[in-house]
């Protein structure tokens, strides 16, 4: 992790579009270029190129998923910001899982069962 790596990371995050992609991948847990491009006024190819640059900088980890590449954030370079997202995301996943159980235990139709 020498000077090259540091500059690489900074370059990767210097662009607001790439920063928002890191944010979008973080908020979703993981994402593909197709998923991210669906919500943006840019092509899938443009998003794929930016994602590859972010992976080169070590900010995202790429895994093959069928014909697509799926990306997730690597927590190390971003430190606390991403750690917060990962922890808070996991917390909400657990909460929503419990909420699902709570709601399925009370199959009331219209009237609240008490």
């Amino acid at each position: 992790m020498g000077r090259g790596r540091v500059e690489h990371v900074f370059d990767a995050l210097g662009d607001p579009g790439r920063r928002s992609l890191v944010e979008a991948v973080s908020s979703r847990g993981s994402a593909t270029a197709t998923e991210l491009a669906a919500g943006l006024p840019v092509t899938r190819q443009a998003v794929a190129k930016q994602l590859a640059a972010l992976a080169d900088a070590g900010l995202l980890r790429a895994t093959r998923s069928g014909r697509e590449t799926r990306y997730e954030v690597t927590p190390e370079p971003l430190g606390e910001a991403v750690a917060w997202m990962v922890a808070m995301g996991a917390r909400w996943d657990e909460r929503l899982d419990r909420l699902g159980h709570v709601l399925s235990k009370r199959p009331s139709k219209g009237k609240a069962a008490r």
């Binding site: 900074f10 995050l13 973080s26 908020s27 910001a81 997202m85 929503l96 909420l99 219209g110």
Partner: protein
């Protein structure tokens, strides 16, 4: 920075709203001990088993549609409900206000190191 989750529960918006706003229901999935006055301007106190306590102010409360809590320490939770085929879609956004600040600080730190 923020995290987002979306999930469809096989329950009516009324049932989901009740689970999101009634203290005794919130204690089944969100926190261990809950006090909440789910009206705009109302206050909430949430306690967890590990001793964590968070206080909140109800910023918005549109029954069966939208609940926004401002955390006293900082940050915000937005819960949106939408009736869909087979149930209710719940969208959660939890925000911490220092996303850009955190990234800028990291970026500055990298510049300093370089």
């Amino acid at each position: 920075m923020q995290i987002e989750r979306e999930i469809v529960f096989p329950a009516s918006p009324a049932e989901v709203w009740e689970a999101l706003t009634e203290p005794e229901r919130l204690e089944e999935w969100f926190a261990t001990e809950v006090e909440l006055d789910a009206r705009p301007g109302g206050e909430g106190v949430f306690r967890w088993g590990d001793g964590e306590e968070r206080r909140a102010l109800v910023r918005e409360a549109e029954p069966e549609e939208r609940l926004v809590l401002d955390w006293e320490d900082e940050g915000q939770v937005v819960l949106e409900l939408e009736e869909v085929d087979g149930g209710t879609r719940v969208r959660v956004v939890e925000r911490s206000p220092d996303w850009s600040t955190a990234l800028e600080l990291h970026a500055l730190a990298w510049v300093a190191v370089a």
